[in-house]
Amino acid sequence: MEEFAVIKRAQAGDMIAFEEIVRNYEERVLMIAIKIAKNEQDAEDIAQNVFITIFRKINTFGFKSSFYSWLYRITMNTAFNHIKTRKYDDFLTNENDDEKNYAVSEDNSTHILEEEVFQRTLKNALNELPEKQRTVFVMKYDQQLKIKEIASILDLHQGTVKKYLFRANEKLRKLLKPYKEKMEKR
Protein backbone atom coordinates (compact mmCIF):
# COMPACT_ATOMS: atom_id res chain seq x y z
CA MET A 1 0.00 0.00 0.00
CA GLU A 2 2.82 2.35 0.93
CA GLU A 3 4.62 1.52 -2.31
CA PHE A 4 1.45 2.26 -4.27
CA ALA A 5 1.33 5.78 -2.76
CA VAL A 6 5.03 6.37 -3.43
CA ILE A 7 4.68 5.34 -7.07
CA LYS A 8 1.59 7.53 -7.48
CA ARG A 9 3.53 10.50 -6.09
CA ALA A 10 6.47 9.77 -8.39
CA GLN A 11 4.06 9.60 -11.33
CA ALA A 12 2.82 13.04 -10.35
CA GLY A 13 6.41 14.35 -10.62
CA ASP A 14 7.46 14.18 -6.97
CA MET A 15 11.26 13.76 -7.06
CA ILE A 16 11.49 12.78 -3.39
CA ALA A 17 9.15 9.88 -4.07
CA PHE A 18 11.17 8.88 -7.12
CA GLU A 19 14.36 8.95 -5.06
CA GLU A 20 12.68 6.66 -2.54
CA ILE A 21 11.95 4.18 -5.36
CA VAL A 22 15.60 4.38 -6.42
CA ARG A 23 16.71 3.68 -2.83
CA ASN A 24 14.38 0.70 -2.55
CA TYR A 25 15.50 -1.01 -5.71
CA GLU A 26 19.00 0.17 -6.70
CA GLU A 27 20.81 -2.60 -4.86
CA ARG A 28 18.66 -5.34 -6.40
CA VAL A 29 19.06 -3.84 -9.87
CA LEU A 30 22.83 -3.59 -9.47
CA MET A 31 22.97 -7.17 -8.24
CA ILE A 32 21.19 -8.41 -11.37
CA ALA A 33 23.37 -6.24 -13.61
CA ILE A 34 26.57 -7.60 -12.00
CA LYS A 35 25.50 -11.13 -12.86
CA ILE A 36 25.00 -10.22 -16.49
CA ALA A 37 27.68 -7.65 -17.24
CA LYS A 38 31.29 -8.66 -17.47
CA ASN A 39 32.68 -5.81 -15.43
CA GLU A 40 31.61 -3.53 -12.62
CA GLN A 41 31.55 -0.37 -14.70
CA ASP A 42 29.13 -1.94 -17.17
CA ALA A 43 26.92 -3.14 -14.34
CA GLU A 44 26.74 0.38 -12.92
CA ASP A 45 26.00 1.85 -16.36
CA ILE A 46 23.17 -0.65 -16.76
CA ALA A 47 21.75 0.19 -13.32
CA GLN A 48 21.93 3.90 -14.09
CA ASN A 49 20.17 3.45 -17.45
CA VAL A 50 17.47 1.33 -15.83
CA PHE A 51 16.48 4.16 -13.50
CA ILE A 52 16.61 6.77 -16.27
CA THR A 53 14.21 4.56 -18.26
CA ILE A 54 12.00 4.18 -15.22
CA PHE A 55 12.00 7.95 -14.74
CA ARG A 56 10.93 8.43 -18.36
CA LYS A 57 8.30 5.71 -18.31
CA ILE A 58 6.93 5.74 -14.80
CA ASN A 59 3.68 7.26 -16.02
CA THR A 60 3.08 4.21 -18.19
CA PHE A 61 3.15 1.86 -15.19
CA GLY A 62 -0.50 0.90 -14.73
CA PHE A 63 -0.28 -1.33 -11.59
CA LYS A 64 -1.29 -4.38 -13.65
CA SER A 65 1.72 -6.30 -12.37
CA SER A 66 3.92 -5.80 -9.33
CA PHE A 67 6.29 -2.86 -9.62
CA TYR A 68 9.24 -5.20 -9.19
CA SER A 69 8.27 -7.37 -12.19
CA TRP A 70 7.91 -4.23 -14.30
CA LEU A 71 11.29 -3.03 -13.10
CA TYR A 72 12.85 -6.46 -13.61
CA ARG A 73 11.62 -6.51 -17.22
CA ILE A 74 13.18 -3.08 -17.81
CA THR A 75 16.42 -4.18 -16.14
CA MET A 76 16.77 -7.26 -18.31
CA ASN A 77 15.91 -5.35 -21.45
CA THR A 78 18.37 -2.61 -20.64
CA ALA A 79 21.09 -5.13 -19.85
CA PHE A 80 20.39 -7.06 -23.03
CA ASN A 81 20.44 -3.92 -25.20
CA HIS A 82 23.58 -2.73 -23.47
CA ILE A 83 25.45 -5.91 -24.27
CA LYS A 84 24.13 -5.97 -27.83
CA THR A 85 25.59 -2.54 -28.59
CA ARG A 86 28.76 -2.78 -26.56
CA LYS A 87 32.09 -3.62 -28.14
CA TYR A 88 33.63 -6.83 -26.90
CA ASP A 89 37.03 -5.43 -25.94
CA ASP A 90 37.24 -7.61 -22.89
CA PHE A 91 37.81 -10.73 -24.98
CA LEU A 92 41.38 -9.50 -25.04
CA THR A 93 41.87 -9.67 -21.29
CA ASN A 94 42.38 -12.15 -18.48
CA GLU A 95 43.27 -15.19 -20.56
CA ASN A 96 45.95 -16.48 -18.22
CA ASP A 97 43.80 -15.99 -15.14
CA ASP A 98 41.08 -18.10 -16.67
CA GLU A 99 43.40 -20.97 -17.40
CA LYS A 100 44.59 -20.84 -13.86
CA ASN A 101 41.07 -20.87 -12.48
CA TYR A 102 39.83 -23.79 -14.56
CA ALA A 103 42.59 -26.09 -13.47
CA VAL A 104 41.29 -28.67 -11.01
CA SER A 105 43.01 -28.21 -7.73
CA GLU A 106 44.39 -31.48 -6.43
CA ASP A 107 45.91 -29.87 -3.36
CA ASN A 108 42.67 -28.92 -1.68
CA SER A 109 41.83 -31.88 0.41
CA THR A 110 38.73 -30.72 2.22
CA HIS A 111 35.34 -30.70 0.58
CA ILE A 112 34.53 -27.23 1.87
CA LEU A 113 37.51 -25.80 0.12
CA GLU A 114 36.65 -27.76 -3.02
CA GLU A 115 33.15 -26.37 -2.89
CA GLU A 116 34.52 -22.83 -2.70
CA VAL A 117 36.90 -23.49 -5.55
CA PHE A 118 34.04 -24.96 -7.54
CA GLN A 119 31.87 -21.91 -6.92
CA ARG A 120 34.66 -19.63 -8.07
CA THR A 121 35.22 -21.79 -11.11
CA LEU A 122 31.54 -21.76 -12.01
CA LYS A 123 31.51 -17.96 -11.66
CA ASN A 124 34.57 -17.66 -13.89
CA ALA A 125 33.09 -20.07 -16.39
CA LEU A 126 29.93 -17.95 -16.49
CA ASN A 127 32.08 -14.91 -17.22
CA GLU A 128 33.49 -16.77 -20.19
CA LEU A 129 30.07 -17.08 -21.79
CA PRO A 130 29.04 -14.57 -24.45
CA GLU A 131 26.75 -12.10 -22.74
CA LYS A 132 23.52 -13.05 -24.48
CA GLN A 133 24.02 -16.65 -23.42
CA ARG A 134 24.91 -15.56 -19.89
CA THR A 135 21.79 -13.37 -19.68
CA VAL A 136 19.53 -16.27 -20.61
CA PHE A 137 21.41 -18.65 -18.30
CA VAL A 138 21.13 -16.27 -15.33
CA MET A 139 17.44 -15.70 -15.98
CA LYS A 140 16.85 -19.43 -16.13
CA TYR A 141 18.86 -20.61 -13.14
CA ASP A 142 19.10 -17.52 -10.95
CA GLN A 143 15.62 -16.12 -11.40
CA GLN A 144 14.18 -19.57 -12.25
CA LEU A 145 12.18 -18.17 -15.14
CA LYS A 146 10.56 -20.33 -17.79
CA ILE A 147 11.75 -20.22 -21.38
CA LYS A 148 8.56 -18.50 -22.51
CA GLU A 149 8.92 -15.87 -19.77
CA ILE A 150 12.52 -15.19 -20.77
CA ALA A 151 11.49 -14.94 -24.42
CA SER A 152 8.75 -12.50 -23.57
CA ILE A 153 10.97 -10.30 -21.37
CA LEU A 154 13.80 -10.15 -23.90
CA ASP A 155 11.44 -9.97 -26.86
CA LEU A 156 13.03 -13.02 -28.47
CA HIS A 157 11.65 -16.13 -30.09
CA GLN A 158 11.48 -19.11 -27.71
CA GLY A 159 13.70 -21.06 -30.11
CA THR A 160 16.37 -18.37 -29.87
CA VAL A 161 16.25 -18.48 -26.07
CA LYS A 162 16.62 -22.26 -26.19
CA LYS A 163 19.54 -21.91 -28.58
CA TYR A 164 21.34 -19.48 -26.24
CA LEU A 165 20.66 -21.76 -23.28
CA PHE A 166 21.87 -24.90 -25.08
CA ARG A 167 25.02 -23.13 -26.20
CA ALA A 168 25.63 -21.85 -22.68
CA ASN A 169 25.11 -25.32 -21.22
CA GLU A 170 27.36 -26.87 -23.83
CA LYS A 171 30.16 -24.42 -23.14
CA LEU A 172 29.83 -24.67 -19.36
CA ARG A 173 29.74 -28.44 -19.60
CA LYS A 174 33.11 -28.37 -21.35
CA LEU A 175 34.64 -25.82 -18.98
CA LEU A 176 33.43 -27.60 -15.86
CA LYS A 177 34.05 -31.15 -17.02
CA PRO A 178 36.98 -31.83 -14.65
CA TYR A 179 34.93 -30.63 -11.68
CA LYS A 180 31.82 -32.49 -12.66
CA GLU A 181 33.76 -35.73 -12.93
CA LYS A 182 35.37 -35.15 -9.57
CA MET A 183 32.02 -34.40 -7.90
CA GLU A 184 30.39 -37.44 -9.45
CA LYS A 185 33.16 -39.68 -8.10
CA ARG A 186 32.37 -38.57 -4.55
Binding site: M15, E26, I52, F55, F91, Q144, I147, T160, K162, R167
Partner: protein
Protein backbone atom coordinates in the same frame (compact mmCIF):
# COMPACT_ATOMS: atom_id res chain seq x y z
CA UNK B 1 7.07 -38.83 -25.16
CA UNK B 2 9.10 -37.16 -27.89
CA UNK B 3 12.15 -34.91 -27.56
CA UNK B 4 10.24 -31.69 -28.19
CA UNK B 5 7.78 -32.40 -25.39
CA UNK B 6 10.64 -33.48 -23.11
CA UNK B 7 12.48 -30.20 -23.75
CA UNK B 8 9.35 -28.10 -23.24
CA UNK B 9 8.72 -29.66 -19.85
CA UNK B 10 12.32 -29.66 -18.67
CA UNK B 11 12.98 -26.09 -19.75
CA UNK B 12 9.72 -24.63 -18.49
CA UNK B 13 9.21 -26.32 -15.14
CA UNK B 14 11.26 -27.03 -12.05
CA UNK B 15 11.73 -30.72 -11.63
CA UNK B 16 10.17 -30.51 -8.16
CA UNK B 17 6.97 -29.07 -9.72
CA UNK B 18 6.48 -31.93 -12.17
CA UNK B 19 3.81 -34.53 -11.25
CA UNK B 20 5.04 -38.04 -10.56
CA UNK B 21 3.44 -39.72 -13.61
CA UNK B 22 4.98 -37.18 -16.04
CA UNK B 23 8.30 -37.38 -14.25
CA UNK B 24 8.27 -41.13 -14.81
CA UNK B 25 7.70 -40.63 -18.55
CA UNK B 26 10.50 -38.06 -18.65
CA UNK B 27 12.89 -40.51 -17.01
CA UNK B 28 11.89 -43.27 -19.42
CA UNK B 29 12.52 -40.98 -22.38
CA UNK B 30 15.79 -39.75 -20.91
CA UNK B 31 17.04 -43.32 -20.71
CA UNK B 32 16.35 -43.84 -24.40
CA UNK B 33 17.64 -40.58 -25.84
CA UNK B 34 21.24 -39.38 -25.61
CA UNK B 35 20.53 -35.67 -26.26
CA UNK B 36 17.68 -35.51 -23.77
CA UNK B 37 19.73 -37.29 -21.17
CA UNK B 38 22.43 -34.61 -21.59
CA UNK B 39 19.78 -31.91 -21.20
CA UNK B 40 18.43 -33.64 -18.08
CA UNK B 41 21.90 -33.91 -16.53
CA UNK B 42 22.65 -30.25 -17.30
CA UNK B 43 19.37 -29.18 -15.77
CA UNK B 44 20.02 -31.14 -12.57
CA UNK B 45 23.63 -30.02 -12.34
CA UNK B 46 23.10 -26.31 -12.98
CA UNK B 47 19.93 -25.91 -10.94
CA UNK B 48 21.62 -27.56 -7.95
CA UNK B 49 24.93 -25.80 -8.24
CA UNK B 50 23.89 -22.35 -9.37
CA UNK B 51 21.78 -21.98 -6.24
CA UNK B 52 24.95 -22.42 -4.16
CA UNK B 53 26.82 -19.53 -5.73
CA UNK B 54 27.13 -16.76 -3.20
CA UNK B 55 25.63 -13.41 -4.10
CA UNK B 56 28.11 -10.66 -4.97
CA UNK B 57 28.99 -8.52 -1.97
CA UNK B 58 28.24 -4.83 -2.37
CA UNK B 59 29.68 -2.29 0.00
CA UNK B 60 27.68 0.72 1.10
CA UNK B 61 30.08 3.22 -0.52
CA UNK B 62 29.48 1.65 -3.86
CA UNK B 63 25.70 1.79 -3.46
CA UNK B 64 25.93 5.41 -2.32
CA UNK B 65 28.07 6.33 -5.32
CA UNK B 66 25.64 4.59 -7.64
CA UNK B 67 22.72 6.34 -5.97
CA UNK B 68 24.33 9.75 -6.49
CA UNK B 69 25.10 8.96 -10.13
CA UNK B 70 21.56 7.79 -10.77
CA UNK B 71 20.02 10.89 -9.22
CA UNK B 72 22.47 13.14 -11.07
CA UNK B 73 21.47 11.54 -14.39
CA UNK B 74 17.79 11.72 -13.58
CA UNK B 75 18.04 15.42 -12.68
CA UNK B 76 19.99 16.06 -15.89
CA UNK B 77 17.23 14.23 -17.74
CA UNK B 78 14.66 16.56 -16.14
CA UNK B 79 16.57 19.67 -17.16
CA UNK B 80 17.32 18.54 -20.70
CA UNK B 81 13.75 17.34 -21.28
CA UNK B 82 11.85 20.68 -21.20
CA UNK B 83 13.89 23.25 -23.17
CA UNK B 84 14.51 20.62 -25.82
CA UNK B 85 10.78 20.42 -26.54
CA UNK B 86 10.53 24.23 -26.79
CA UNK B 87 13.47 24.35 -29.18
CA UNK B 88 12.11 21.56 -31.31
CA UNK B 89 8.74 23.32 -31.65
CA UNK B 90 10.07 25.84 -34.18
CA UNK B 91 13.26 24.19 -35.23
CA UNK B 92 11.63 21.03 -36.56
CA UNK B 93 10.30 22.76 -39.65
CA UNK B 94 13.27 24.90 -40.68
CA UNK B 95 16.51 24.23 -38.90
CA UNK B 96 16.42 20.47 -38.38
CA UNK B 97 16.24 19.45 -42.07
CA UNK B 98 18.97 21.95 -43.03
CA UNK B 99 21.20 20.97 -40.13
CA UNK B 100 20.67 17.26 -40.83
CA UNK B 101 21.54 17.67 -44.52
CA UNK B 102 24.64 19.73 -43.72
CA UNK B 103 25.80 17.32 -41.03
CA UNK B 104 25.29 14.31 -43.32
CA UNK B 105 27.31 15.98 -46.07
CA UNK B 106 30.21 16.88 -43.74
CA UNK B 107 30.25 13.43 -42.12
CA UNK B 108 30.10 11.78 -45.56
CA UNK B 109 33.11 13.77 -46.80
CA UNK B 110 35.11 13.07 -43.64
CA UNK B 111 34.32 9.34 -43.61
CA UNK B 112 35.12 9.07 -47.35
CA UNK B 113 38.49 10.70 -46.87
CA UNK B 114 39.25 8.58 -43.84
CA UNK B 115 38.42 5.37 -45.72
CA UNK B 116 40.55 6.37 -48.69
CA UNK B 117 43.51 7.24 -46.49
CA UNK B 118 43.33 4.13 -44.38
CA UNK B 119 42.06 1.48 -46.74
CA UNK B 120 45.44 -0.19 -46.97
CA UNK B 121 46.14 -0.11 -43.25
CA UNK B 122 42.65 -1.37 -42.40
CA UNK B 123 43.04 -4.74 -44.07
CA UNK B 124 46.35 -6.27 -43.10
CA UNK B 125 46.79 -9.81 -44.33
CA UNK B 126 47.17 -12.13 -41.40
CA UNK B 127 49.62 -14.94 -41.17
CA UNK B 128 48.44 -18.44 -40.45
CA UNK B 129 49.85 -18.18 -36.95
CA UNK B 130 47.73 -15.12 -36.23
CA UNK B 131 44.55 -16.86 -37.32
CA UNK B 132 45.16 -19.86 -35.12
CA UNK B 133 46.01 -17.67 -32.21
CA UNK B 134 43.07 -15.26 -32.46
CA UNK B 135 40.53 -18.03 -32.90
CA UNK B 136 41.91 -20.12 -30.07
CA UNK B 137 41.80 -17.17 -27.72
CA UNK B 138 38.31 -16.01 -28.66
CA UNK B 139 39.62 -12.73 -29.99
CA UNK B 140 37.38 -12.55 -33.01
CA UNK B 141 34.19 -10.53 -32.72
CA UNK B 142 32.71 -11.50 -36.07
CA UNK B 143 33.65 -12.97 -39.41
CA UNK B 144 32.34 -12.49 -42.95
CA UNK B 145 33.03 -14.36 -46.15
CA UNK B 146 33.69 -11.63 -48.68
CA UNK B 147 34.66 -13.54 -51.82
CA UNK B 148 34.49 -17.12 -53.05
CA UNK B 149 36.03 -18.34 -56.27
CA UNK B 150 34.62 -21.61 -57.57
CA UNK B 151 37.30 -21.74 -60.24
CA UNK B 152 40.28 -21.60 -57.90
CA UNK B 153 38.57 -22.70 -54.64
CA UNK B 154 39.89 -19.55 -52.98
CA UNK B 155 37.99 -17.88 -50.14
CA UNK B 156 38.43 -14.42 -48.60
CA UNK B 157 37.34 -13.58 -45.09
CA UNK B 158 36.87 -10.19 -43.47
CA UNK B 159 37.55 -10.47 -39.76
CA UNK B 160 36.34 -8.17 -37.01
CA UNK B 161 39.55 -8.11 -35.11
CA UNK B 162 41.19 -4.90 -33.84
CA UNK B 163 40.66 -2.50 -36.75
CA UNK B 164 39.57 -5.25 -39.11
CA UNK B 165 41.63 -7.68 -41.10
CA UNK B 166 41.38 -9.78 -44.22
CA UNK B 167 42.68 -13.25 -44.93
CA UNK B 168 42.57 -15.12 -48.22
CA UNK B 169 43.46 -18.68 -49.04
CA UNK B 170 42.52 -21.95 -50.60
CA UNK B 171 39.87 -24.13 -49.00
CA UNK B 172 42.35 -27.00 -48.87
CA UNK B 173 44.45 -24.95 -46.40
CA UNK B 174 43.75 -26.19 -42.81
CA UNK B 175 43.71 -22.58 -41.55
CA UNK B 176 41.07 -21.64 -44.08
CA UNK B 177 39.10 -24.72 -43.06
CA UNK B 178 39.41 -23.62 -39.46
CA UNK B 179 37.99 -20.22 -40.39
CA UNK B 180 35.17 -21.84 -42.36
CA UNK B 181 34.24 -23.93 -39.34
CA UNK B 182 34.43 -20.85 -37.14
CA UNK B 183 32.26 -18.86 -39.58
CA UNK B 184 29.63 -21.59 -39.69
CA UNK B 185 29.18 -21.59 -35.94
CA UNK B 186 29.99 -18.07 -34.89
CA UNK B 187 29.24 -15.61 -37.70
CA UNK B 188 26.50 -13.20 -36.70
CA UNK B 189 25.29 -12.90 -40.25
CA UNK B 190 23.22 -15.86 -41.43
CA UNK B 191 24.36 -15.17 -45.03
CA UNK B 192 27.94 -15.89 -44.00
CA UNK B 193 26.93 -19.06 -42.19
CA UNK B 194 25.01 -20.16 -45.27
CA UNK B 195 27.98 -19.37 -47.49
CA UNK B 196 30.23 -21.36 -45.26
CA UNK B 197 27.89 -24.38 -45.28
CA UNK B 198 27.64 -24.17 -49.09
CA UNK B 199 31.42 -24.21 -49.40
CA UNK B 200 31.63 -27.21 -47.09
CA UNK B 201 28.96 -28.95 -49.15
CA UNK B 202 31.24 -28.71 -52.15
CA UNK B 203 34.39 -30.04 -50.52
CA UNK B 204 35.45 -33.39 -49.21
CA UNK B 205 37.41 -32.93 -46.03
CA UNK B 206 38.35 -35.07 -43.08
CA UNK B 207 38.72 -32.02 -40.89
CA UNK B 208 37.18 -32.76 -37.48
CA UNK B 209 36.56 -29.09 -36.76
CA UNK B 210 34.45 -28.84 -39.89
CA UNK B 211 32.54 -31.99 -38.96
CA UNK B 212 31.86 -30.62 -35.45
CA UNK B 213 30.78 -27.27 -36.86
CA UNK B 214 28.39 -28.99 -39.27
CA UNK B 215 26.89 -31.11 -36.50
CA UNK B 216 26.47 -28.03 -34.33
CA UNK B 217 24.76 -26.08 -37.10
CA UNK B 218 22.49 -28.94 -38.03
CA UNK B 219 21.24 -29.03 -34.47
CA UNK B 220 21.25 -25.45 -33.31
CA UNK B 221 21.44 -22.87 -36.11
CA UNK B 222 18.50 -20.46 -36.19
CA UNK B 223 18.31 -20.40 -39.93
CA UNK B 224 16.66 -23.39 -41.66
CA UNK B 225 18.66 -22.75 -44.85
CA UNK B 226 21.90 -23.10 -42.92
CA UNK B 227 20.66 -26.25 -41.17
CA UNK B 228 19.71 -27.80 -44.51
CA UNK B 229 23.02 -26.94 -46.20
CA UNK B 230 24.98 -28.17 -43.18
CA UNK B 231 23.06 -31.44 -43.24
CA UNK B 232 23.76 -31.86 -46.96
CA UNK B 233 27.45 -31.21 -46.32
CA UNK B 234 27.43 -34.11 -43.85
CA UNK B 235 26.87 -36.43 -46.82
CA UNK B 236 30.55 -35.94 -47.62
CA UNK B 237 31.47 -37.90 -44.51
CA UNK B 238 31.04 -41.60 -44.10
CA UNK B 239 28.22 -42.42 -41.71
CA UNK B 240 29.43 -42.75 -38.11
CA UNK B 241 27.85 -42.55 -34.66
CA UNK B 242 28.17 -38.75 -34.41
CA UNK B 243 26.43 -38.22 -37.73
CA UNK B 244 23.82 -40.86 -36.85
CA UNK B 245 23.04 -39.08 -33.57
CA UNK B 246 22.76 -35.74 -35.36
CA UNK B 247 20.36 -37.18 -37.92
CA UNK B 248 18.26 -38.76 -35.19
CA UNK B 249 18.24 -35.41 -33.40
CA UNK B 250 17.00 -33.77 -36.61
CA UNK B 251 14.36 -36.42 -37.08
CA UNK B 252 13.02 -35.82 -33.59
CA UNK B 253 13.42 -32.06 -33.20
CA UNK B 254 13.59 -30.37 -36.59
CA UNK B 255 10.58 -28.20 -37.45
CA UNK B 256 11.03 -28.39 -41.22
CA UNK B 257 9.84 -31.61 -42.87
CA UNK B 258 12.24 -31.03 -45.79
CA UNK B 259 15.20 -31.11 -43.41
CA UNK B 260 13.89 -34.22 -41.65
CA UNK B 261 13.62 -35.88 -45.07
CA UNK B 262 17.20 -34.90 -45.84
CA UNK B 263 18.27 -36.61 -42.59
CA UNK B 264 16.43 -39.79 -43.62
CA UNK B 265 18.32 -39.78 -46.92
CA UNK B 266 21.63 -39.55 -45.08
CA UNK B 267 20.69 -42.47 -42.89
CA UNK B 268 19.80 -44.38 -46.06
CA UNK B 269 19.17 -47.98 -45.13
CA UNK B 270 21.44 -48.07 -42.15
CA UNK B 271 21.34 -51.18 -39.99
CA UNK B 272 22.04 -49.44 -36.70
CA UNK B 273 19.45 -50.31 -34.08
CA UNK B 274 19.13 -46.74 -32.72
CA UNK B 275 18.40 -45.53 -36.23
CA UNK B 276 15.82 -48.20 -36.80
CA UNK B 277 14.00 -47.36 -33.56
CA UNK B 278 14.00 -43.63 -34.37
CA UNK B 279 12.80 -44.20 -37.91
CA UNK B 280 10.08 -46.59 -36.84
CA UNK B 281 8.87 -44.00 -34.35
CA UNK B 282 8.89 -41.30 -37.00
CA UNK B 283 7.09 -43.56 -39.46
CA UNK B 284 4.22 -43.79 -36.97
CA UNK B 285 4.22 -40.32 -35.43
CA UNK B 286 5.68 -37.79 -37.87
CA UNK B 287 3.23 -35.06 -38.87
CA UNK B 288 4.39 -34.99 -42.50
CA UNK B 289 3.19 -37.63 -44.93
CA UNK B 290 6.33 -37.06 -47.05
CA UNK B 291 8.50 -38.11 -44.13
CA UNK B 292 6.52 -41.29 -43.56
CA UNK B 293 6.62 -42.16 -47.27
CA UNK B 294 10.34 -41.60 -47.40
CA UNK B 295 10.96 -43.83 -44.38
CA UNK B 296 8.90 -46.56 -46.02
CA UNK B 297 11.09 -46.21 -49.11
CA UNK B 298 14.14 -47.29 -47.12
CA UNK B 299 12.59 -49.29 -44.29
CA UNK B 300 9.74 -51.75 -44.08
CA UNK B 301 6.92 -51.52 -41.55
CA UNK B 302 8.98 -53.42 -39.02
CA UNK B 303 11.76 -50.85 -39.23
CA UNK B 304 14.06 -53.27 -41.03
CA UNK B 305 16.10 -51.76 -43.85
CA UNK B 306 15.05 -52.67 -47.35
CA UNK B 307 17.94 -53.35 -49.67
CA UNK B 308 18.07 -50.99 -52.63
CA UNK B 309 17.58 -52.76 -55.92
Amino acid sequence: MNCKKFQDIILNYNISEIPENILRKLKEHKNECVDCSILWNDEMFFSQNYANISEPKLNSNRIERLHNNIMKSVRREMIIGKPKEKFLFWSNKIITPIATAAATLVIGILVGRFILQNSQEMNPTLTAYNVQEIIDNNRLNDIKISEVSNATNDVSFDLSWNNGARIEGNRSDPNIQKLLAYALVKANNSGTRLHSAKIMEGMSSNNVEILNALIHSVKYDDNPGVRLKALRALKNYSLNDTIRDACIFVLQNEVSAAIRMEAIQILGNDNDQKVQIALKKAANNDEAEGVKTMINKYYGNEGIPIRKK
